[in-house]
Amino acid sequence: MDAIRENIPLLLQGIGTTVALTVLGYVFALVVGTAMAVARVSPIPPLRWAATVYVEIFRNIPLLSLLILIAFGLPDVGLRLPYFWCGVLGLTLSSAAFVCENVRSGINTVPVGHAEAARSIGLGFFGTLRHVVLPQAFRSMVQPLVNVFIGTVIGSALCSAIAVQEVTWVTQTLNIRYAQAVLMFLIAGAAYLILSLGGAALGGVIERAVSPGSGRDRSRAGAALDVTAGAQA
Protein backbone atom coordinates (compact mmCIF):
# COMPACT_ATOMS: atom_id res chain seq x y z
CA MET A 1 0.00 0.00 0.00
CA ASP A 2 2.96 2.27 0.48
CA ALA A 3 3.41 2.07 -3.23
CA ILE A 4 0.07 3.86 -3.60
CA ARG A 5 0.38 6.28 -0.72
CA GLU A 6 3.76 7.56 -1.85
CA ASN A 7 2.71 8.01 -5.44
CA ILE A 8 -0.75 9.49 -5.21
CA PRO A 9 0.22 12.70 -7.09
CA LEU A 10 1.78 10.64 -9.88
CA LEU A 11 -1.26 8.36 -10.11
CA LEU A 12 -3.66 11.29 -10.13
CA GLN A 13 -1.61 12.95 -12.82
CA GLY A 14 -1.75 9.73 -14.83
CA ILE A 15 -5.51 9.50 -14.46
CA GLY A 16 -5.83 13.16 -15.40
CA THR A 17 -3.76 12.56 -18.54
CA THR A 18 -5.93 9.58 -19.46
CA VAL A 19 -9.08 11.68 -19.06
CA ALA A 20 -7.55 14.48 -21.14
CA LEU A 21 -6.46 12.08 -23.90
CA THR A 22 -9.87 10.44 -23.99
CA VAL A 23 -11.98 13.57 -23.90
CA LEU A 24 -9.87 15.48 -26.44
CA GLY A 25 -9.54 12.48 -28.75
CA TYR A 26 -13.26 11.72 -28.55
CA VAL A 27 -14.48 15.28 -29.02
CA PHE A 28 -12.22 15.81 -32.04
CA ALA A 29 -13.32 12.42 -33.35
CA LEU A 30 -16.97 13.44 -33.09
CA VAL A 31 -16.28 16.56 -35.14
CA VAL A 32 -14.08 14.89 -37.76
CA GLY A 33 -16.22 11.75 -37.90
CA THR A 34 -19.46 13.70 -38.41
CA ALA A 35 -17.84 15.77 -41.17
CA MET A 36 -16.64 12.54 -42.80
CA ALA A 37 -20.12 11.03 -42.55
CA VAL A 38 -21.63 14.11 -44.20
CA ALA A 39 -19.02 13.73 -46.94
CA ARG A 40 -19.92 10.07 -47.34
CA VAL A 41 -23.59 10.87 -48.00
CA SER A 42 -22.94 14.03 -50.00
CA PRO A 43 -23.94 14.32 -53.65
CA ILE A 44 -20.33 15.03 -54.66
CA PRO A 45 -18.56 11.79 -55.69
CA PRO A 46 -14.93 12.87 -54.95
CA LEU A 47 -15.94 13.80 -51.38
CA ARG A 48 -17.61 10.43 -50.94
CA TRP A 49 -14.52 8.63 -52.25
CA ALA A 50 -12.15 10.61 -50.03
CA ALA A 51 -14.20 9.89 -46.92
CA THR A 52 -14.47 6.21 -47.79
CA VAL A 53 -10.72 5.94 -48.24
CA TYR A 54 -10.20 7.71 -44.91
CA VAL A 55 -12.51 5.32 -43.07
CA GLU A 56 -11.05 2.21 -44.62
CA ILE A 57 -7.51 3.28 -43.76
CA PHE A 58 -7.95 4.45 -40.20
CA ARG A 59 -10.52 1.86 -39.18
CA ASN A 60 -8.21 -0.93 -40.27
CA ILE A 61 -4.83 0.20 -38.95
CA PRO A 62 -4.26 -1.08 -35.39
CA LEU A 63 -4.22 1.89 -33.05
CA LEU A 64 -0.81 0.93 -31.68
CA SER A 65 0.71 0.97 -35.17
CA LEU A 66 -0.97 4.27 -35.88
CA LEU A 67 0.35 5.86 -32.68
CA ILE A 68 3.89 4.69 -33.39
CA LEU A 69 3.66 5.88 -36.99
CA ILE A 70 2.55 9.30 -35.78
CA ALA A 71 5.05 9.59 -32.94
CA PHE A 72 8.08 8.39 -34.88
CA GLY A 73 7.03 8.94 -38.48
CA LEU A 74 5.89 12.56 -38.35
CA PRO A 75 9.29 13.86 -37.14
CA ASP A 76 10.80 12.23 -40.23
CA VAL A 77 8.68 14.51 -42.41
CA GLY A 78 9.53 17.51 -40.27
CA LEU A 79 6.51 17.69 -37.99
CA ARG A 80 7.36 17.51 -34.30
CA LEU A 81 4.47 17.18 -31.90
CA PRO A 82 4.65 16.56 -28.15
CA TYR A 83 3.90 12.89 -27.46
CA PHE A 84 0.66 13.84 -25.70
CA TRP A 85 -0.64 15.48 -28.87
CA CYS A 86 0.57 12.53 -30.94
CA GLY A 87 -1.64 10.43 -28.70
CA VAL A 88 -4.62 12.77 -29.15
CA LEU A 89 -4.07 12.79 -32.91
CA GLY A 90 -3.90 9.01 -33.12
CA LEU A 91 -7.03 8.54 -31.01
CA THR A 92 -8.86 11.19 -33.05
CA LEU A 93 -7.95 9.70 -36.42
CA SER A 94 -8.88 6.20 -35.34
CA SER A 95 -12.08 6.99 -33.44
CA ALA A 96 -13.25 9.41 -36.16
CA ALA A 97 -13.38 6.51 -38.61
CA PHE A 98 -15.70 4.63 -36.26
CA VAL A 99 -17.76 7.75 -35.49
CA CYS A 100 -18.14 8.29 -39.24
CA GLU A 101 -19.53 4.83 -39.81
CA ASN A 102 -21.89 5.13 -36.84
CA VAL A 103 -23.19 8.50 -37.98
CA ARG A 104 -23.56 7.25 -41.54
CA SER A 105 -25.51 4.20 -40.47
CA GLY A 106 -27.62 6.46 -38.25
CA ILE A 107 -28.32 8.66 -41.28
CA ASN A 108 -29.28 5.55 -43.23
CA THR A 109 -31.90 4.62 -40.63
CA VAL A 110 -33.86 7.75 -41.56
CA PRO A 111 -36.38 6.84 -44.26
CA VAL A 112 -35.45 8.41 -47.58
CA GLY A 113 -38.99 9.80 -47.81
CA HIS A 114 -38.21 12.22 -44.97
CA ALA A 115 -35.29 13.63 -46.91
CA GLU A 116 -37.50 13.89 -50.00
CA ALA A 117 -40.17 15.68 -48.00
CA ALA A 118 -37.52 18.09 -46.72
CA ARG A 119 -36.31 18.74 -50.26
CA SER A 120 -39.86 19.25 -51.46
CA ILE A 121 -40.34 22.12 -49.00
CA GLY A 122 -37.21 23.72 -50.37
CA LEU A 123 -34.49 22.65 -47.95
CA GLY A 124 -31.09 22.05 -49.53
CA PHE A 125 -28.58 19.31 -48.73
CA PHE A 126 -27.29 20.87 -45.51
CA GLY A 127 -30.69 22.12 -44.38
CA THR A 128 -32.13 18.64 -44.88
CA LEU A 129 -29.28 17.09 -42.89
CA ARG A 130 -29.33 19.71 -40.17
CA HIS A 131 -33.07 19.99 -39.54
CA VAL A 132 -34.52 16.67 -40.60
CA VAL A 133 -32.03 13.83 -40.95
CA LEU A 134 -29.45 14.31 -38.20
CA PRO A 135 -31.90 15.07 -35.36
CA GLN A 136 -33.62 11.77 -36.13
CA ALA A 137 -30.41 9.87 -36.78
CA PHE A 138 -28.92 11.07 -33.51
CA ARG A 139 -31.38 8.99 -31.52
CA SER A 140 -30.18 5.77 -33.03
CA MET A 141 -26.56 6.90 -32.84
CA VAL A 142 -26.25 7.44 -29.09
CA GLN A 143 -25.44 3.88 -28.04
CA PRO A 144 -23.02 3.19 -30.92
CA LEU A 145 -21.29 6.47 -30.04
CA VAL A 146 -21.01 5.31 -26.42
CA ASN A 147 -19.21 2.24 -27.81
CA VAL A 148 -16.78 4.49 -29.64
CA PHE A 149 -16.23 6.44 -26.41
CA ILE A 150 -15.39 3.25 -24.53
CA GLY A 151 -13.08 2.27 -27.38
CA THR A 152 -11.36 5.63 -27.03
CA VAL A 153 -10.99 5.18 -23.25
CA ILE A 154 -9.44 1.76 -23.70
CA GLY A 155 -7.39 2.85 -26.70
CA SER A 156 -5.85 5.67 -24.69
CA ALA A 157 -3.90 2.98 -22.75
CA LEU A 158 -1.90 2.33 -25.91
CA CYS A 159 -0.51 5.86 -25.69
CA SER A 160 1.75 4.51 -22.98
CA ALA A 161 3.71 2.92 -25.83
CA ILE A 162 4.72 6.37 -27.06
CA ALA A 163 5.63 7.54 -23.56
CA VAL A 164 2.52 9.56 -22.83
CA GLN A 165 2.38 9.52 -19.04
CA GLU A 166 -1.19 8.40 -18.66
CA VAL A 167 -2.43 5.93 -16.07
CA THR A 168 -1.19 2.77 -17.78
CA TRP A 169 2.26 4.26 -18.20
CA VAL A 170 2.30 5.39 -14.54
CA THR A 171 1.15 2.04 -13.14
CA GLN A 172 3.55 0.15 -15.38
CA THR A 173 6.40 2.32 -14.19
CA LEU A 174 5.39 1.87 -10.55
CA ASN A 175 5.11 -1.87 -11.09
CA ILE A 176 8.69 -1.96 -12.28
CA ARG A 177 9.73 -0.11 -9.15
CA TYR A 178 7.58 -1.95 -6.56
CA ALA A 179 6.90 -5.29 -8.30
CA GLN A 180 3.19 -5.15 -7.41
CA ALA A 181 1.65 -5.93 -10.77
CA VAL A 182 -1.83 -6.99 -9.56
CA LEU A 183 -2.31 -3.96 -7.33
CA MET A 184 -1.06 -1.54 -9.97
CA PHE A 185 -3.17 -2.93 -12.76
CA LEU A 186 -6.21 -3.07 -10.50
CA ILE A 187 -5.77 0.67 -10.03
CA ALA A 188 -5.47 1.25 -13.76
CA GLY A 189 -8.41 -1.08 -14.41
CA ALA A 190 -10.57 0.77 -11.90
CA ALA A 191 -9.75 4.08 -13.55
CA TYR A 192 -10.79 2.77 -16.99
CA LEU A 193 -13.90 1.14 -15.60
CA ILE A 194 -15.07 4.33 -13.92
CA LEU A 195 -14.41 6.38 -17.06
CA SER A 196 -16.23 3.91 -19.30
CA LEU A 197 -19.18 3.49 -16.95
CA GLY A 198 -19.39 7.25 -16.57
CA GLY A 199 -19.48 7.67 -20.33
CA ALA A 200 -22.12 4.96 -20.69
CA ALA A 201 -24.26 6.52 -17.95
CA LEU A 202 -24.04 9.91 -19.64
CA GLY A 203 -24.99 8.23 -22.92
CA GLY A 204 -28.03 6.69 -21.25
CA VAL A 205 -29.14 10.09 -19.96
CA ILE A 206 -28.72 11.64 -23.42
CA GLU A 207 -30.55 8.76 -25.06
CA ARG A 208 -33.54 9.17 -22.76
CA ALA A 209 -33.51 12.93 -23.27
CA VAL A 210 -33.68 12.68 -27.07
CA SER A 211 -35.97 9.68 -27.31
CA PRO A 212 -39.46 10.31 -28.66
CA GLY A 213 -42.02 10.73 -25.91
CA SER A 214 -39.70 12.65 -23.64
CA GLY A 215 -40.38 16.13 -22.39
CA ARG A 216 -43.87 17.50 -22.80
CA ASP A 217 -45.27 14.55 -24.64
CA ARG A 218 -45.38 12.22 -21.65
CA SER A 219 -48.77 10.84 -22.59
CA ARG A 220 -47.29 8.85 -25.40
CA ALA A 221 -44.62 7.28 -23.19
CA GLY A 222 -47.43 6.24 -20.87
CA ALA A 223 -49.31 4.69 -23.77
CA ALA A 224 -46.22 2.73 -24.78
CA LEU A 225 -46.00 1.28 -21.26
CA ASP A 226 -49.64 0.24 -21.40
CA VAL A 227 -48.98 -1.70 -24.58
CA THR A 228 -46.27 -3.69 -22.83
CA ALA A 229 -48.54 -4.38 -19.90
CA GLY A 230 -51.23 -5.64 -22.24
CA ALA A 231 -48.77 -7.97 -23.94
CA GLN A 232 -47.81 -9.58 -20.65
CA ALA A 233 -51.36 -10.13 -19.48
Partner: protein, 302 residues
Protein backbone atom coordinates in the same frame (compact mmCIF):
# COMPACT_ATOMS: atom_id res chain seq x y z
CA UNK B 1 -56.13 8.52 -30.17
CA UNK B 2 -59.63 9.64 -30.84
CA UNK B 3 -60.51 10.23 -34.42
CA UNK B 4 -61.66 13.79 -34.79
CA UNK B 5 -64.08 14.44 -37.57
CA UNK B 6 -63.08 17.17 -39.93
CA UNK B 7 -65.53 19.99 -40.21
CA UNK B 8 -64.60 22.01 -43.27
CA UNK B 9 -63.56 25.55 -42.64
CA UNK B 10 -66.63 27.63 -41.99
CA UNK B 11 -65.90 30.17 -44.70
CA UNK B 12 -65.72 27.54 -47.39
CA UNK B 13 -68.31 25.25 -45.91
CA UNK B 14 -70.83 25.55 -48.71
CA UNK B 15 -68.56 24.84 -51.61
CA UNK B 16 -66.56 22.26 -49.79
CA UNK B 17 -69.51 20.29 -48.54
CA UNK B 18 -70.90 20.41 -52.04
CA UNK B 19 -67.69 19.16 -53.61
CA UNK B 20 -67.06 16.62 -50.92
CA UNK B 21 -70.51 15.17 -51.20
CA UNK B 22 -70.36 15.05 -54.94
CA UNK B 23 -66.85 13.82 -55.24
CA UNK B 24 -66.10 11.46 -52.48
CA UNK B 25 -68.80 10.86 -49.96
CA UNK B 26 -71.36 8.32 -51.07
CA UNK B 27 -69.32 6.05 -53.30
CA UNK B 28 -66.37 5.66 -51.04
CA UNK B 29 -67.11 2.43 -49.10
CA UNK B 30 -68.06 0.57 -52.25
CA UNK B 31 -64.40 0.28 -53.21
CA UNK B 32 -63.53 0.98 -56.84
CA UNK B 33 -66.14 3.39 -57.94
CA UNK B 34 -67.09 5.76 -60.63
CA UNK B 35 -69.54 3.65 -62.62
CA UNK B 36 -72.45 4.90 -60.58
CA UNK B 37 -71.88 8.50 -61.65
CA UNK B 38 -75.23 9.93 -62.70
CA UNK B 39 -76.21 13.11 -60.96
CA UNK B 40 -72.76 13.72 -59.55
CA UNK B 41 -71.46 14.29 -63.05
CA UNK B 42 -73.67 17.27 -63.61
CA UNK B 43 -72.59 18.65 -60.26
CA UNK B 44 -68.99 18.44 -61.39
CA UNK B 45 -69.90 20.25 -64.57
CA UNK B 46 -71.65 22.98 -62.61
CA UNK B 47 -68.68 23.35 -60.35
CA UNK B 48 -66.42 23.58 -63.32
CA UNK B 49 -68.63 26.22 -64.86
CA UNK B 50 -68.75 28.14 -61.59
CA UNK B 51 -64.99 28.37 -61.47
CA UNK B 52 -64.95 29.40 -65.09
CA UNK B 53 -62.79 27.90 -67.76
CA UNK B 54 -60.35 30.74 -68.15
CA UNK B 55 -57.70 28.39 -66.76
CA UNK B 56 -57.12 26.69 -70.08
CA UNK B 57 -55.84 29.86 -71.67
CA UNK B 58 -52.40 31.36 -71.27
CA UNK B 59 -49.12 29.62 -70.58
CA UNK B 60 -49.21 26.38 -68.62
CA UNK B 61 -47.95 26.49 -65.03
CA UNK B 62 -46.33 23.09 -65.32
CA UNK B 63 -45.24 21.81 -68.66
CA UNK B 64 -43.47 18.60 -69.64
CA UNK B 65 -42.17 18.13 -73.18
CA UNK B 66 -40.80 14.89 -74.56
CA UNK B 67 -39.83 13.58 -71.15
CA UNK B 68 -38.08 10.22 -71.10
CA UNK B 69 -36.98 8.52 -67.92
CA UNK B 70 -34.85 5.40 -67.68
CA UNK B 71 -34.08 3.30 -64.64
CA UNK B 72 -31.11 1.39 -66.03
CA UNK B 73 -32.48 -0.29 -69.15
CA UNK B 74 -36.07 0.07 -68.07
CA UNK B 75 -37.88 2.99 -69.61
CA UNK B 76 -40.32 4.31 -67.01
CA UNK B 77 -41.51 7.32 -69.00
CA UNK B 78 -41.82 7.50 -72.79
CA UNK B 79 -42.09 10.87 -74.48
CA UNK B 80 -44.39 12.47 -71.92
CA UNK B 81 -46.08 15.72 -73.02
CA UNK B 82 -48.23 17.24 -70.31
CA UNK B 83 -49.47 20.76 -69.59
CA UNK B 84 -51.13 21.80 -66.36
CA UNK B 85 -52.68 25.25 -66.32
CA UNK B 86 -53.24 27.55 -63.39
CA UNK B 87 -56.11 26.43 -61.22
CA UNK B 88 -56.47 23.15 -63.02
CA UNK B 89 -56.94 19.91 -61.10
CA UNK B 90 -55.59 16.93 -63.00
CA UNK B 91 -55.97 13.29 -62.00
CA UNK B 92 -53.18 11.00 -63.11
CA UNK B 93 -54.42 7.44 -63.16
CA UNK B 94 -53.20 4.10 -64.35
CA UNK B 95 -52.16 0.66 -63.17
CA UNK B 96 -49.26 0.12 -60.78
CA UNK B 97 -45.97 0.51 -62.59
CA UNK B 98 -47.47 2.64 -65.34
CA UNK B 99 -45.10 5.51 -64.50
CA UNK B 100 -47.58 7.91 -62.92
CA UNK B 101 -45.72 8.26 -59.61
CA UNK B 102 -42.43 8.58 -61.47
CA UNK B 103 -43.85 11.40 -63.57
CA UNK B 104 -45.13 13.10 -60.43
CA UNK B 105 -41.70 12.83 -58.80
CA UNK B 106 -39.95 14.08 -61.94
CA UNK B 107 -42.07 17.22 -61.95
CA UNK B 108 -40.30 18.57 -58.89
CA UNK B 109 -37.06 16.84 -59.66
CA UNK B 110 -37.05 14.22 -56.92
CA UNK B 111 -36.16 12.05 -59.90
CA UNK B 112 -33.93 13.26 -62.70
CA UNK B 113 -35.25 12.94 -66.21
CA UNK B 114 -33.18 11.31 -68.93
CA UNK B 115 -34.43 13.43 -71.85
CA UNK B 116 -36.87 16.22 -72.46
CA UNK B 117 -37.78 19.38 -70.64
CA UNK B 118 -39.90 20.34 -67.67
CA UNK B 119 -40.81 23.96 -67.02
CA UNK B 120 -42.49 25.42 -63.96
CA UNK B 121 -44.16 28.77 -64.60
CA UNK B 122 -42.01 29.24 -67.69
CA UNK B 123 -38.73 28.45 -65.93
CA UNK B 124 -36.89 25.33 -66.92
CA UNK B 125 -36.14 22.99 -64.00
CA UNK B 126 -32.40 23.27 -63.43
CA UNK B 127 -30.14 20.29 -62.86
CA UNK B 128 -29.09 20.97 -59.28
CA UNK B 129 -28.20 23.68 -56.83
CA UNK B 130 -29.87 26.73 -55.32
CA UNK B 131 -32.12 27.45 -58.29
CA UNK B 132 -33.56 23.97 -58.19
CA UNK B 133 -34.13 24.23 -54.46
CA UNK B 134 -36.04 27.47 -54.98
CA UNK B 135 -38.18 26.10 -57.82
CA UNK B 136 -38.89 22.96 -55.85
CA UNK B 137 -40.39 25.00 -53.04
CA UNK B 138 -42.81 26.49 -55.59
CA UNK B 139 -44.29 23.06 -56.18
CA UNK B 140 -45.50 21.35 -53.04
CA UNK B 141 -45.57 17.61 -52.75
CA UNK B 142 -47.73 15.31 -50.67
CA UNK B 143 -46.51 11.74 -50.35
CA UNK B 144 -48.20 8.39 -50.04
CA UNK B 145 -46.40 7.72 -46.76
CA UNK B 146 -46.97 11.26 -45.37
CA UNK B 147 -43.28 11.65 -44.45
CA UNK B 148 -43.93 13.96 -41.55
CA UNK B 149 -40.77 14.68 -39.60
CA UNK B 150 -41.29 12.46 -36.55
CA UNK B 151 -39.09 14.48 -34.20
CA UNK B 152 -41.14 17.64 -34.72
CA UNK B 153 -44.61 18.50 -33.47
CA UNK B 154 -47.32 19.01 -36.07
CA UNK B 155 -46.97 22.78 -35.97
CA UNK B 156 -43.17 22.59 -36.26
CA UNK B 157 -43.53 20.31 -39.27
CA UNK B 158 -45.56 23.07 -40.88
CA UNK B 159 -43.27 25.95 -39.87
CA UNK B 160 -39.93 24.32 -40.74
CA UNK B 161 -40.03 25.35 -44.40
CA UNK B 162 -41.22 28.94 -43.90
CA UNK B 163 -38.66 29.50 -41.13
CA UNK B 164 -35.59 27.81 -42.57
CA UNK B 165 -36.19 28.35 -46.28
CA UNK B 166 -38.19 31.59 -46.42
CA UNK B 167 -36.64 33.07 -43.27
CA UNK B 168 -39.98 33.84 -41.61
CA UNK B 169 -39.96 34.73 -37.91
CA UNK B 170 -41.21 32.09 -35.50
CA UNK B 171 -44.23 34.20 -34.56
CA UNK B 172 -45.28 34.74 -38.18
CA UNK B 173 -44.66 31.13 -39.13
CA UNK B 174 -46.62 29.88 -36.11
CA UNK B 175 -49.55 32.15 -36.91
CA UNK B 176 -49.65 30.98 -40.51
CA UNK B 177 -49.26 27.33 -39.43
CA UNK B 178 -52.20 27.61 -37.03
CA UNK B 179 -54.35 29.03 -39.83
CA UNK B 180 -53.37 26.13 -42.08
CA UNK B 181 -53.93 23.51 -39.38
CA UNK B 182 -57.30 25.13 -38.77
CA UNK B 183 -58.03 24.83 -42.46
CA UNK B 184 -57.31 21.08 -42.45
CA UNK B 185 -59.26 20.71 -39.21
CA UNK B 186 -56.34 19.95 -36.90
CA UNK B 187 -55.79 23.10 -34.88
CA UNK B 188 -56.23 21.06 -31.69
CA UNK B 189 -53.39 18.73 -32.72
CA UNK B 190 -50.79 21.44 -33.28
CA UNK B 191 -48.64 20.28 -30.38
CA UNK B 192 -48.89 16.55 -31.07
CA UNK B 193 -46.02 14.53 -32.41
CA UNK B 194 -46.79 12.71 -35.68
CA UNK B 195 -46.73 9.33 -33.91
CA UNK B 196 -49.73 10.47 -31.85
CA UNK B 197 -51.78 11.20 -34.98
CA UNK B 198 -53.80 8.85 -37.16
CA UNK B 199 -52.80 8.34 -40.77
CA UNK B 200 -55.50 10.67 -42.01
CA UNK B 201 -54.46 13.35 -39.54
CA UNK B 202 -50.80 12.94 -40.52
CA UNK B 203 -51.66 13.34 -44.17
CA UNK B 204 -53.66 16.48 -43.45
CA UNK B 205 -50.71 17.92 -41.53
CA UNK B 206 -48.54 17.01 -44.53
CA UNK B 207 -50.91 18.98 -46.77
CA UNK B 208 -50.68 21.95 -44.38
CA UNK B 209 -46.89 21.62 -44.47
CA UNK B 210 -46.89 21.77 -48.26
CA UNK B 211 -49.29 24.74 -48.27
CA UNK B 212 -47.11 26.65 -45.81
CA UNK B 213 -44.60 27.28 -48.60
CA UNK B 214 -47.37 29.01 -50.57
CA UNK B 215 -46.70 26.80 -53.57
CA UNK B 216 -47.93 27.62 -57.05
CA UNK B 217 -49.01 24.02 -57.47
CA UNK B 218 -49.38 20.88 -55.39
CA UNK B 219 -48.43 17.38 -56.46
CA UNK B 220 -50.14 14.50 -54.69
CA UNK B 221 -48.45 11.12 -55.03
CA UNK B 222 -51.15 8.60 -54.09
CA UNK B 223 -52.12 10.60 -51.01
CA UNK B 224 -54.71 8.14 -49.75
CA UNK B 225 -53.18 4.79 -50.73
CA UNK B 226 -51.60 4.19 -47.32
CA UNK B 227 -54.73 5.15 -45.38
CA UNK B 228 -57.38 3.07 -43.68
CA UNK B 229 -60.65 3.25 -45.62
CA UNK B 230 -62.49 5.16 -42.90
CA UNK B 231 -60.06 8.07 -42.90
CA UNK B 232 -59.60 8.43 -46.67
CA UNK B 233 -62.53 10.82 -46.93
CA UNK B 234 -61.14 13.31 -44.44
CA UNK B 235 -58.08 13.72 -46.68
CA UNK B 236 -60.09 13.79 -49.92
CA UNK B 237 -62.38 16.42 -48.37
CA UNK B 238 -59.39 18.68 -47.70
CA UNK B 239 -58.17 18.14 -51.25
CA UNK B 240 -61.59 18.87 -52.70
CA UNK B 241 -61.64 22.07 -50.69
CA UNK B 242 -58.26 23.07 -52.10
CA UNK B 243 -59.45 22.32 -55.62
CA UNK B 244 -62.49 24.46 -54.95
CA UNK B 245 -60.27 27.30 -53.76
CA UNK B 246 -58.46 27.28 -57.09
CA UNK B 247 -55.21 25.48 -56.22
CA UNK B 248 -53.41 23.94 -59.17
CA UNK B 249 -53.14 20.25 -58.45
CA UNK B 250 -51.83 17.06 -60.01
CA UNK B 251 -53.19 14.05 -58.17
CA UNK B 252 -51.84 10.56 -58.73
CA UNK B 253 -54.68 8.47 -57.42
CA UNK B 254 -56.62 5.25 -57.41
CA UNK B 255 -59.66 7.09 -56.06
CA UNK B 256 -61.78 7.08 -59.20
CA UNK B 257 -64.61 8.90 -57.46
CA UNK B 258 -62.27 11.77 -56.71
CA UNK B 259 -60.82 11.74 -60.21
CA UNK B 260 -64.28 11.81 -61.71
CA UNK B 261 -65.99 14.37 -59.57
CA UNK B 262 -63.35 16.76 -58.31
CA UNK B 263 -60.80 16.84 -61.12
CA UNK B 264 -61.08 18.90 -64.29
CA UNK B 265 -59.14 16.47 -66.41
CA UNK B 266 -58.10 12.85 -66.25
CA UNK B 267 -54.77 11.67 -67.65
CA UNK B 268 -54.49 7.94 -68.13
CA UNK B 269 -51.03 6.38 -68.27
CA UNK B 270 -49.97 2.89 -69.22
CA UNK B 271 -46.47 1.49 -69.62
CA UNK B 272 -44.83 4.88 -69.29
CA UNK B 273 -46.98 6.63 -71.87
CA UNK B 274 -49.91 8.97 -71.68
CA UNK B 275 -52.53 6.93 -73.49
CA UNK B 276 -55.53 9.15 -73.14
CA UNK B 277 -56.61 12.35 -71.49
CA UNK B 278 -59.82 14.24 -71.33
CA UNK B 279 -62.81 15.41 -69.35
CA UNK B 280 -63.56 13.02 -66.48
CA UNK B 281 -67.14 12.29 -67.56
CA UNK B 282 -66.10 11.58 -71.10
CA UNK B 283 -63.17 9.42 -69.97
CA UNK B 284 -65.13 7.33 -67.50
CA UNK B 285 -68.23 6.88 -69.62
CA UNK B 286 -66.74 6.68 -73.11
CA UNK B 287 -63.00 6.06 -73.12
CA UNK B 288 -61.53 6.24 -76.61
CA UNK B 289 -58.55 3.92 -76.35
CA UNK B 290 -58.72 0.17 -75.93
CA UNK B 291 -56.17 0.26 -73.11
CA UNK B 292 -58.25 2.74 -71.13
CA UNK B 293 -61.35 0.62 -71.75
CA UNK B 294 -59.53 -2.46 -70.47
CA UNK B 295 -58.25 -0.58 -67.43
CA UNK B 296 -61.66 0.81 -66.54
CA UNK B 297 -63.37 -2.53 -67.02
CA UNK B 298 -60.91 -4.06 -64.55
CA UNK B 299 -61.30 -1.48 -61.82
CA UNK B 300 -65.01 -0.92 -62.25
CA UNK B 301 -65.90 -4.59 -62.55
CA UNK B 302 -67.22 -4.97 -59.01
Amino acid sequence: MNETSTPPDAAEADDAADAAAAGTGPQRPAGPQGAEGGAAGTQAAERSARRGDSRRTGDPLISARGVDKFFGDFQALKGIDLDIHRGEVVALIGASGSGKSTLCRCLNRLETITRGEITIDGERLPEEGKELTRLRADVGMVFQSFNLFPHLKAIDNVTLGPRKVRGASKADADRQAMELLERVGLADKANSLPTALSGGQQQRVAIARALAMKPKALLFDEPTSALDPEVINEVLDVMAELAEAGMTMLVVTHEMGFARHVCDRVVYMDQGEIVEEGEPEQFFTAPRSDRAKAFLSKILAH
